[in-house]
Structure formats: C-alpha cells, structure tokens
Symmetry: C2
Subunit: 347 residues, 2 copies
C-alpha cells in the first residue's frame, strides 16, 4: 500500500536481506529496517519492529530461509535446528510463526532454494488471502457507506492489504465514496496511531473517534457497518479480538447495524469449541495510566494521565459472542458465525 | 470529603472570602484558591478553577453575596446589577449559575445579611441534596457490590458528596464492602483523573479501566450495577451525560445489569420533551489527538497520541434513551425514567 505516495509491503526479502517497515516508530517516523541474517530478523520480531499475525508469519518464514542460506554444508542440519529454536522463541504465542518455521524448515531439508521458495510462498499467500478478503468484503460495501473499525487490522499487520481494512481499500479502488470512523482503541491507541496513519497515506476520508463515541454515532444514524479483525475465532463463531470489540458489537446489534469480522482461515482455532475457553491476557496497568506520544519538540515522551498512585486493570482482548456477528469475511467466502459454516472452511 | 486525611468541601465562604479547591491542578497538585472579591470569584468560575454544576451554582451565589458586601450604600443597586451581569457572563450555559444569581440578587434587595444567608442556603441545599441522593442510592447497593461509574459525578462537581459517587460513599460509611470500576472517560479522562483521585483519598477500593473494557467485565459477571451522573434529563426520562454513557447503558441492558442515573431535581429540564431536542456540543479535535499529563520530571506536558495530521471528531455528550435506565436517584426519591414519575417531582 501507499506511504508518502510510494508503494510498500510491510516486509519483503531480497538477496538474503529481509527488509521491513519499522513499526514501533510509527506513526511519528517512517523507516525501513534491514535484517542481514536470521538473528537480526529474530531481533526484529522480538522487539516488535514487525508486528501483526500475518507479518510475523512472513518474518519467521524469511528468517528460516535466511538460516538455510547462511548454513554451511558441513553443519547444515545443526544450524537449521538451532535457528528454528531461536525463531520460535521470539514470540512464543504467535501461532502463525510456528506454522511458518515448520513449513520452511521442512522445505530446507530439500535444499536452500526450496527453503527460499517456501518462505516467499508464505508471504505471497498472506498477501493473496488479504486481497481475497478485500474483494469479498467489498461486495458488502455500498457507495456512500460510513464504516466504523476498531484497532488496526490493516496492511501493517499483514504483508499487504490487511483484513478489516482490505475491503475498505477495495471499495475505494472500485470507485465507491466511503468514510471511515476510526476507534482510538485505548489503551494502546492502535486506531489513532496505525489505522489513521494507513488511511492518511491512502487518502481515504476518515476521522478518529474516542472509543466512547461509537454508540452515539450509531444512534445518530451515522454508521452503516462495522468491520473488525480477529485474534482467534472459536468453532462456534465466538471471536476474540482487541478489547472494546464486544462493546461495538453490542451497540451495533442494538441499532441493527451489520457487524462483520474479517480474518484469514488461519485465525480459526478448530480445537477451541467456544469463546469461553479463550483465556484473556491481562497486560500491565502502566499502559492505561501512562501514555506515549511526541511532545511539542518532537521528542517521544511518556506522561501520567491518571491520578498519581491510582491502580488500573488492563484486559487486552474480549470475546464477542457469535450471535452478535453478522458474518465473517474469509479469503474463501463470507460465512455466518456458526459451527456448521466454520467446519465447512476446513476442507 | 477527605483529602490527605483532612475534611474539605469544594467551595466555602468565610469573612467575605470565597475559598475553593483549585480543580484545574488536580489530580497532580492540591491547592486552595482564595477569591477576595466577587471579581476574583468570577475569574475562578471562568478559568474552571471551580467546575461542575453544583459547585458552579454555589460559586455564583457566593460571588453575588460578595458583591452585596462590597457595594457602597450610595450606589448599591448599580453595583449589584453590574456584578450580576459579570457573574452571569462567566459560564453562560451553566443553568445552576443563573438560578443562584437570581436568588441572591433578590435577597440582596433586602440587605447584605439576607444576601449572605441566601448564598449559604444555596451551598447548603446542594450539599443536602447530594447527601440525600447518597442515602437513597445506598439502599440499592448490596454488600460486596462491584459498581462501574463513568466520568466524574463526585463531590468535586458539587459542594460535597456528589451524585453518582454519593451512594458509594454512603455504602462504605454503612459498612458495606464495595469495589468501584472507574471508566477512564476519554478524551478528557475525568474518571482516571478526578474520580480515581476522590476514591484514593477516601480509600475506597477501585481500579481505572479503559472505556473499552466495560462490556468485557460485564460479560465476566464482574459488575453488579452502573451509576452515572447527568447533565440534563428530558421530561420522558432520556438522559444527556458525558460521551460513552450510552455505550455503558446498552451493554448493561444486554447483560441485565441495573443502570442508574443520580442527579438532583435541578438537572431535569421540564421544558425539554425528549432527548431528541438536546443538541450535543462538539468540542475541539485537539482533545482527542493530544493528551495532557505529567512527565517523568513532574512537568505538565502535552503530547500527540495520534498519527500526525490526523483528524478527529469529539462529541462531548450523548443521550441515553429512558428505556435503558433502571432508575433515577434524586434527592426526593428514586424514580423510574418515565414522564409520569418525572412530572411527579415538580411539586
């Protein structure tokens, strides 16, 4: 997608070098980070220079391919095994990461070229899945639609296009006039910081809104649909996603506004029966009590935005029950959030 | 209520001096501002050293009384008239302010003592109304309750006790164990800043939560009731209050959690038929894009917390339909949010 009028992907590999947008500097600074070997790519994953399910998967695949290229013929297998362990320990809860290392490791057993091809295939599939989600999702968007989105499920979280934002990019490309209401998404502000940055660069009309304002805009008839991403989807259609998603889904139901989840099939956890089984990560209270941003001199600064000595609770995700979800946009089809339709994706 | 273990009211008058907590320094600094004459009290109202419906009403009454004390016998009436105009132009949308100046001005026609008594009566009535709201509201709170509140409808907004928080203080005083979930209340953060500060000083167990987390906590069975304040209540029971109130009310309804509004009868607008007539103030986008707080050196700092050049929308209030409200706690009675019960308050 576009950054300052030039086309970028979040991560790509050329001549053994893995290059990626340095996401922990966004939205204040735009820089490309170059990882010259698999260890530097591991560092990039660990330090969140690259983030988001799809982009992490691609990074892990590229790192594994780098390891295969670096490995000496004499200790090829040992080097590969150590590398795989290193890569898998960077973000041990990222499911895409393990799928990627496994695939490229197995390919590497056949040789360096096979490893490289496998890594490129992973990145390419991520991109195509996002593109297909966009094409299918675009079919739901009418000219003039005002769409609310939560957090960042844009191209920055994948190799390109994104999930929740991909239908929005497609709608614009197909000539529809749209407007996006971007939830700020406290406490980390991924909406205000990343989604707004994406939409600014793509010149799609939008406005950041406080997370408190969604239902108010719905009550005034100003929102035609909601599209969000997903971190994990249970077999019965319950969706775990960024904290606040549930409130939007409840409000959308109350006002009869379509509420869609956009996610690749890799997001479905076929071993998880319902959302009740999903354990919600509690993050540190400092994320709520303090805020980071740039001051008047352009310096990154952290300030206390609560009463001194106050305590906070910071659940990172919530679970939206299937009954509140109008449909799930995958790369294969738009399905209902039901066990039957989800099982149909398995084939 | 308590501040650092000592008892305070938000505003009081003694020997022609009006003293008040300097609220625009909270929660980072606790200071008492002294207004030596009516003009200094006007300055305090205008610059939001004193804020909140009840506290502003008391300040206006005291300012009018100061004017009466200052006035010379020769130009008594002229001085009073000019003062009234000055006071009424400080915050022209605050309804309590006009009621207060009218009452004290009329009393001043009978003499200086009458003016002083009238001003003290206003502050005393505000305090007693808050206290009675607390007593009645306490009847709704069971031992062990976990209560969510939005924004700041605490004692800082009134002369003492507050509205939404008054039942909470009473519940604590009557020996009940309670826990308060304090909505951060973006964009201005009155929950994280003022409500948390009040509860810290009163040593009531609580935690700040991101505005996004309410429905999640409700879904986990962690919230027993919601109590909020009100800016204006229409004849049919629709309630205008801080942005985000509507989302909490919808979520509470979805999870069958009692949702109460606490407000003195002066909050009811008997000329406003329904919430549809209430025009929602749009505030500047900077309140969303920037945040103020103290940095690591203790300096008040403002930082950008959104993508540079991003736009934002900042509606200050929303309207919660009467159907979502379990009851309204007033100083006279707890009523249903219906036309009939609201008309009954008029007598």
């Amino acid at each position: 997608m576009q950054v300052n009028g030039k086309n970028y992907e979040t991560i790509w590999m050329k001549d053994q070098m893995v290059r990626m947008i340095e996401q922990n500097l966004l939205p204040y600074e735009f820089k490309i980070f170059t990882a010259r070997n698999y260890k530097e790519t591991c560092f990039a994953i660990k330090s969140m220079i690259v983030r988001g399910a799809g982009a992490i998967g691609a990074a892990a695949g590229f790192a594994m391919a780098q390891a295969a290229m670096e490995a000496d013929a004499r200790n090829y297998m040992t080097y590969l095994k150590i590398a795989r362990k290193d890569i898998e320990s960077t973000r041990p809860t990222a499911r895409n990461l393990f799928a990627a290392t496994e695939k490229v490791y197995n390919a590497a057993l056949e040789g360096k070229d096979a490893a490289l091809n496998a890594a490129h295939e992973i990145a390419e599939k991520d991109k195509m899945d996002s593109l297909n989600i966009g094409k299918l999702g675009n079919g739901l968007i009418k000219d003039g639609y005002r769409i609310e989105t939560h957090c960042n499920a844009g191209w920055l979280a994948f190799v390109d296009h994104g999930t929740a934002l991909s239908p929005i990019y497609m709608a614009r490309d197909s000539g529809k006039k749209i407007f996006v209401y971007v939830d700020e998404t406290r406490p980390r502000g991924q909406g205000a910081k990343l989604t707004a940055w994406e939409l600014l660069n793509e010149e799609i009309p939008h406005a950041i809104i406080p997370d408190n304002a969604g239902a108010h805009l719905m009550s005034k008839g100003l929102i035609d649909m909601v599209i969000v991403g997903a971190d994990r989807i249970a077999l019965n259609g319950d969706v775990a996603n960024k904290i606040g998603t549930l409130e939007k889904a409840i409000a959308a139901k109350y006002y009869n506004i379509p509420f869609y989840v956009a996610a690749p099939i890799s997001t479905f956890d076929f071993n998880c029966l319902t959302g009740k089984e999903i354990i919600i990560e509690e993050r540190v209270e400092e994320e709520v009590l303090y805020q980071k941003g740039i001051d008047a001199n352009g310096h990154m600064t952290e300030i206390l935005v609560a009463a001194p000595n106050a305590k906070a609770i910071n659940p990172a995700f919530d679970v939206t029950p299937a009954g509140l979800i109008t449909g799930i946009i995958t790369e294969k089809a738009i399905i209902k959030a039901t066990n039957q339709e989800i099982m149909g994706l398995k084939d």
